[in-house]
Amino acid sequence: MTSKSRSEKKIPLTIQAPDNATEIFLVSNRFERIESGIGKLEQSVSPGLYKVRFRSGMTQEDRLIEVGNNQSQVVFKEPPLSFESTTPLLNTHEDNARQRTIASQQSGKVHLKAGKGSRLFLFIRHQHSGSSENPGEGVTLHSLEGKTIAGMDDGIHNSENGCWCLQVELDPGTYRLQVDTGALGTFERFLVACENWQTLFFGMTTDFSLRESEAVEEHITRVLLKSSSVHMMKTGKIFDPASASSRMTELSKIALESGRTVVDENSFGKLFAENIDNPMFGIYGAHQLLTNRRPDYTIIDAIAGKLESLIGPHPDVLSLWLRKSSDRLDKKSFALSSPPMLTRSWELLTRESLRRSSIVPEGSFSDLFSNGMLSTAPWLLHRVTMEPETGSGTPSRARTQEMLGDLARISGTTKGFSMLDAALKERKDLTQLEHSIAQAMLNQAQHHSAPLPSLNKLVENFTVPSVAIKRSTKSLFEKLELKQKG
């Protein structure tokens, strides 16, 4: 019997990440990627030296390992990596034991009662606890209709540890969390409260001062909504900053933020069951899987079904059904009048509105407020502005297409082009969406061979529901006092 040469000999190598949301990359001594995995990687390799890269959130750590000639197998385990986390978790970059303890203790208390059935817990902190400024400055909580529910003074400010929190008991539904950032305006995001569940919002502050020089003395420190995080737990439970499910959920949120997938399709069902106490893990994970080139819809459907039975008709769960081939969608006739929390859900919703405009009911919040929507992955944000009024009444799809054709025809003439161009520069009564539609027409007119901006194209480009495009096209038509063709 002859011994195997080096190149033929293979040794089983197992690399175990600290958790099931950490990516693993196995790299050869020539710096070529051999294999990648999530949570665990098993690969038979030739004896030699290897580089293993672990990625938790935005943190990357490289380890060099030896697979010796005489070893029958090699198992390499990586301890937990510290990563940047908005949520105050153990073993993270911004880990502050006092802030963690406060978040945990206060998550079990109710500071304000504004309804019943569910809770919203808001926790905002400074990265460096030295600042005495209240991190909750500029924050207000509103109903979807705009009624103010709570403000900074309703919460608990711990100046010594640089954090502010507020737990509100309220009716299940969608709420608007607004932040006034001064000169940059007021922004809001949406938070969904589910029956018998507690939605936890975590945010960190940042400097919003408009500084072009160091001379500016006033610093405007406000919570940064776009990097905020959302977790969920059963009402009555206490937030555990050391729990594996909190860590997995946070890493899953970061992955969605950076367009990566850190859930393995094959083990997602098992992972979901393990982290069922925090349904946001399932929501983040299912939305990641939907971005796969060929998503396995049986897995996504199963998770969506379980999530729906667990937390009810949450917009970010319902949006998982929004795809052409979903039987469930056809059987289940639902409308999403309130906006989802995730940008990804909003994209699915606007796309679906082309097939079924009733998915976004006319006059609903999702319709009327689509004008100032900002999507900064992963959250859907909204800029609260004093927008000029848009007209009422939604034309049919055919009528909208006709009006778009008329607009294209008008802007194709020298006179019409100048009129539209002047309107864009001078008129203050056009909404952002009306402005964008007019601009699209001018772009088309400049290049005659370009296809006519269709309703589909405008929905895709502006990522707003079709009902908003229809109404704004009609409104633009009326404001410019254009006459219909023929």
Binding site: Q60, D62, E347
Partner: protein, 355 residues
């Protein structure tokens, strides 16, 4: 001299309606220097078109004054006119050269629709953009059109800008002619499309002490370091794949405390392009490893094994320190007769280890 190579180099630092940046002007300087270098791009000066805030603005212009936003430049017209000669050539069906470099540094954003249908669509905000009206140039659209028209055999696109998305700013494609292109020619265009960040993420700039305390885009520095140090193959060619791997391996180290997402680099579907050929086909620099013993007794021997665990050398220590030059790779250093050893990753920089 690469007389058939051309470059469009754009850097926008002054944004009166957004936050101004410090890096893009410096990024442009660095990349242009590389383009001009004999052992770099080796381009004639006349083949490089530069468009920066510095080139376009008068000295009276104050970028911090939002009132002057309409005067801010480069604007869309300034940038688009750089592409015009090549678009005309493409429309006429002409091939204009071997390679076109497109380098863009500034504020940018990615197309805000379904992230995975057009993963490459990226725009550079023009200087007159603000948070409400996001004027921009869809640079990737130009690169794609020129590639489809096979105006050049090779397109090198480098965008050191954010690729976050902003629903307020619909992604607007430039006005480009609808012409029928030869699909076979288009297929054979070699590409190197490099983005500082993956779709949906921000790019970062940083002050570099070792570079005169000036600010640069972290990705630009990683690219320039790759161009300076990445190893050539035995024919002396430094290929796109090599540059890509080098960047991925060093960018975290270059970023230091600043957290950066992994860059996105696409080499296209045709053959990998050769960035340049080193006259000296060996490594431009063979890094030095200096080993210091924790305790020197006078008879220690250092064994060196390569990444395949083959014995490379055994060197006796004459003092507590020992230096050896090696090619980049993974190595194991061990001290004979002890269980003291160290695994190291050697890129192109000298390193010091203690065993």
């Amino acid at each position: 001299m690469a007389a058939d190579d051309y470059a469009i180099v754009i850097g926008i630092s002054a944004y009166p309606g957004l936050t101004s940046l410090e890096g893009p002007g410096n990024d442009v300087d660095l990349f242009t220097q590389w383009l001009r270098k004999k052992d770099g791009g080796n381009l004639p000066k006349k083949n490089i078109s530069i468009c920066t805030s510095r080139f376009c603005l008068s000295k009276k212009f104050d970028p911090s004054c939002c009132e002057q936003i309409e005067e801010a430049r480069p604007n869309r017209e300034d940038i688009e006119k750089l592409f015009r000669p090549w678009v005309i050539a493409g429309t006429l069906g002409n091939t204009s050269g071997r390679r076109l470099y497109i380098f863009a540094s500034g504020h940018g954003f990615g197309k805000a629709s379904d992230s995975h249908t057009n993963p490459m669509d990226t725009a550079l905000y023009t200087a007159n953009a603000d948070v409400y009206i996001g004027l921009h140039v869809a640079v990737t659209a130009y690169a794609n059109w020129l590639s489809q028209a096979a105006v050049f055999d090779e397109i090198v696109l480098v965008m050191d800008c954010c690729r976050t998305k902003n629903l307020m700013h619909p992604f607007t494609y430039p006005v480009l002619p609808n012409t029928s292109h030869d699909p076979e020619k288009a297929r054979k265009v070699r590409k190197f499309y490099a983005f500082a960040s993956p779709w949906g993420n921000a790019a970062k700039e940083k002050r570099f002490m070792e570079r005169g305390n000036r600010t640069y885009g972290i990705f630009t520095i990683a690219l320039l370091e790759a161009l300076a140090k990445a190893r050539a193959n035995r024919l002396g060619n430094v290929k796109g794949e090599t540059i890509k791997k080098y960047i991925h391996n060093v960018i975290d180290e270059i970023a230091g405390d600043t957290k950066v997402p992994p860059p996105e680099i696409d080499l296209g579907n045709y053959n990998d392009l050769i960035w340049f050929t080193r006259e000296d086909s060996t490594s431009p620099h063979k890094p030095l490893v200096t080993i210091t013993l924790q305790e020197f007794r006078g008879n220690e021997i250092c064994h060196i094994q390569n990444g395949e665990l083959e014995a490379l050398d055994s060197i006796p220590f004459k003092s507590e320190r020992l230096s050896v030059s090696l090619d980049p790779g993974l190595y194991k250093f061990s001290i004979e007769g002890t269980d003291r050893n160290k695994l190291i990753q050697l890129l192109n920089d000298d390193i010091e280890i203690t065993i």
